[in-house]
């Protein structure tokens, strides 16, 4: 069962790799391509690529300018290169508080996503492989959780955390980040499809406990799904802005999104902050890019997970 399910995926991706250079996704029918469909598809993709990349290009250009050139030169082309100077200013401003924020973000997103993945993986595995009363009810509640936007939960969470005096601490952002209903859903679907009951049975017969079976057998089989959950959760925590905004008051605890937002909200009256916001925003996307480059192979596999059953 596992081979049956896993073998098409690499095959598909090999084919996709091979054909990526010369085949448009809209023309899967035969050897003869319609040149109009092909150039049409390329045009659509080109427009969207431009649409997504221009803001990043703008950011790169803007972050490389000194503040006096920012308003007076072409916004989409470089003036003199002062990006090193700008980074130096950012390091110096308020004792490099920005890098503290960056580290906080890496911690919230990295540790949070890792633990969230473990928890979601265990939940999904348990829901898929154990039979117990209320299993479907629990699963449906978790599914319902996917539909509730995190933003809607921020204020209730604040009031709850206030009661136990945990607002304005690392926990206030970290604990809610450990929950990923979508991760549970994905892990369950994937565990059901990729972890054969026979294998679990065999592990039990060999004397492995349930926890050991999960970590040594199931986790390896579920790995692509777990990487997907990790990436989703990493990005979700990294971009989660509203929860820290509501929870945190101490600048030393801020993630980079909230810190940059705070500065940006005062650009009108303290214009020198604009330069810091620009260079800070540029630097803040680097960790995300690194994470994606390292894990994109798994991400692509994982996205298709459960779509063909």
């Amino acid at each position: 069962m596992s081979t049956a399910l896993e073998s098409p995926a690499p095959a598909r991706s090999r084919k996709a790799r091979r054909s990526a250079g010369n085949t448009a996704p809209t023309a899967p029918t035969g050897p003869r391509e319609n040149p109009f469909a092909r150039s049409g598809a390329m045009l659509v993709m080109g427009v969207f690529t431009l649409y997504f990349l221009v803001p990043i290009w703008w950011l790169l250009v803007a972050a490389s300018k000194s503040s006096s050139q920012f308003t007076s030169t072409n916004p989409l082309w470089f003036a003199d290169m002062s990006i090193v100077q700008n980074i130096g200013d950012l390091v110096a401003y308020r004792d490099g508080v920005y890098f503290r924020w960056l580290l906080n973000s890496v911690f919230y997103a990295g540790a949070g996503a890792l633990l969230a993945t473990v928890i979601a993986g265990m939940c999904g595995y348990a829901l898929a492989k154990y039979r117990f009363p209320g299993r479907e009810v629990i699963f449906n509640v978790v599914l319902g959780g996917v539909l509730v936007p995190a933003t809607a939960l921020a204020l209730p969470l604040f009031l709850i955390f206030s009661q136990v005096n945990l607002t304005n601490t690392y926990w206030a952002v970290f604990l809610p980040s450990l929950v990923s209903p979508f991760g549970v859903y994905l892990a369950r679907i994937y565990a059901a499809a990729s972890v054969p009951d026979e294998l679990i049975e065999a592990a039990r017969l060999d004397g492995a406990g349930e926890v050991r079976t999960f970590f040594t057998v199931a986790v390896r089989l579920m790995f692509p799904a777990l990487v997907t959950v990790f990436l989703f959760q990493f990005v979700a925590i990294w971009n989660n802005f509203f929860l820290p905004l509501i929870m945190l008051r101490d600048e030393a605890l801020f993630p980079v999104t909230l810190g940059l937002y705070s500065w940006n909200s005062q650009v009108n009256q303290i214009p020198e902050l604009r330069g810091y916001v620009l260079i800070g925003a540029l630097l803040s996307i680097i960790p995300l890019i690194i994470t994606f480059l390292l894990l994109q192979r798994f991400w692509r596999n994982g996205l298709g997970t459960g779509s063909v059953k």
Partner: protein
């Protein structure tokens, strides 16, 4: 399976225990703080060392507070921060007031104070030693912003202010032989002359309604009044309508540019010399400096144009206060800190340096740093103009309890008006209706 059931039961019980523990601790804390609040109703000093929390979004506030902490080992203040008020900090204050963990002190802009007052979030500091006497230390109108016209109440200590004057391109006016306008009528005439050279006399701010309110303030109008219980909404007063019609005429005749404020186009219009003047507040000096760096040395500052020749009235744009929140257990110490923060020379100098704050304290207007000539303005000691303007701001302007909503609604109308749909005074009329509706929706009594 029995194992599972037992595990589930244990889990449920532990969740319930945590929940109960949470509830019980929450139940006990309001009682204790309630007692404390009752005890300090007369604002007595606390005994022993006191720790205060202070939320402000001003970068560099820590450095100012560090000076206080060094001088006052028994009253230690911890700074908390966040985005500016409307960017989220006000909402946080309301959340915290609801949760019972508001900071002792918070920064609140004048236009947001009535909202906190209406929601009963502010502590009246009048009973605290030295607070009522401090009235004479502050510019008169700023005190009116924090006591809402009640003689024996003080809901916050004024921090900074934004008296308005006219920034203008001295070089362009001189080169084109155009007189510096001293009245709004002359300003309109100058606008025609400037337009003839290809420029615009200024930019009409279609979305920053605060500036427009400052112009209404200068004209002697007010948008709200409160007689102690009932609110009156007056966006369509004669003064307000007069100001709206004046700018409508300039917009209609294409004598002012209408770039959205605080954008790069807007900066660029000043940087390239296309816009010639800006009717702005003291803190705006730095905005031009950084937005229009190529024009260094070419600017100057003159008093705002007047509605009647010979008048001397000024408006205000911006400014904030330091408030003590309901629930603070140490209002006396909090008030002492707030007074020091906003009147002492060392604090005001630091605040001006780190955040361009223009003080609300009279002594602050005489700070050496505010007496110097500024190179960007041709070495003119520009803050003398603002110090004079500060004394000419009317004390009668009152903000409403739902300013965010009012700003948004008027701004929507203004944006439509500058693109030719409707007029500015119609936008004010719409804002008037929607503000009354918003007040009524919050069960705030409105007089019609």
């Amino acid at each position: 399976m029995r194992m599972n059931k037992r595990a589930a039961t244990v889990a449920l019980l532990s969740v319930a225990a945590v929940g109960l523990a949470g509830c019980s601790s929450a139940d006990s804390s309001p009682d204790s703080s309630g007692d404390a609040a009752a005890a300090v109703g007369d604002c007595a000093p606390s005994t022993g060392k006191v720790d205060l929390t202070f939320t402000s979004w001003i970068p560099g506030m820590e450095d100012v507070v560090a000076v206080w902490n060094e001088q006052n080992p028994d009253i230690q203040v911890a700074v908390q921060t966040g985005p500016n008020g409307n960017g989220g900090t006000y909402q946080n204050f309301f959340n915290q007031l609801k949760a019972g963990n508001a900071p002792d002190l918070g920064q609140i802009e004048y236009d947001a104070l009535p909202n906190f007052r209406v929601q009963d979030g502010l502590m009246d500091l009048a009973a605290c030693d030295g607070v009522l006497d401090a009235q004479e230390d502050f510019v008169d109108w700023t005190w009116g912003q924090v006591n809402f016209g009640e003689a024996d109440a003080v809901y916050a200590i004024p921090q900074d202010s934004g008296p308005m004057a006219m920034f203008y391109r001295a070089d362009l006016f001189e080169a084109n032989n155009i007189a510096i306008p001293t009245t709004w009528a002359e300003y309109a005439t100058a606008a025609e002359q400037v337009r003839a050279t290809g420029g615009y006399i200024t930019n009409f701010s279609q979305s920053d309604i605060n500036q427009f309110a400052g112009l209404v303030w200068q004209a002697g109008g007010t948008w709200f009044q409160n007689d102690g219980t009932d609110w009156t909404v007056d966006l369509t007063s004669a003064e307000s309508t007069k100001v709206a019609d004046y700018w409508q005429d300039l917009v209609d005749r294409d004598l002012v540019s209408v770039n959205p404020p605080w954008t790069t186009e807007w900066d660029n219009a000043y940087n390239t010399g296309s816009d010639w003047t800006w009717n702005s507040a003291a803190w705006g000096a730095n905005s031009i400096m950084s937005g229009a760096p190529d024009t260094a040395g070419k600017w100057a500052v003159a008093p705002s144009p007047q509605w009647e020749a010979g008048d001397a009235a000024s408006g205000n744009w911006g400014g904030s206060s330091t408030a003590v929140f309901k629930g603070s257990e140490h209002p006396y110490e909090a008030a002492q800190f707030a007074l020091w923060l906003n009147t002492s020379d060392e604090s005001l100098t630091l605040l001006n340096k780190s955040a361009n704050l223009y003080p609300a304290a009279k002594s602050g207007l005489e700070l050496p740093v505010l007496k110097e000539g500024v190179a960007f303005y041709g070495d003119q000691p520009i803050y003398d103009v603002f110090a004079e303007a500060s004394g000419q701001v009317s004390a009668d302007f009152v903000w409403g309890p739902t300013m965010t909503q009012t700003y948004n609604d008027v701004s929507d109308g203004f944006k439509a008006a500058v693109s030719g749909q409707g007029t500015l005074s119609e936008a004010l009329a719409t804002g008037q209706d929607s503000t009354i509706a918003a007040l009524e929706a919050q069960a705030i009594p409105v007089k019609k």
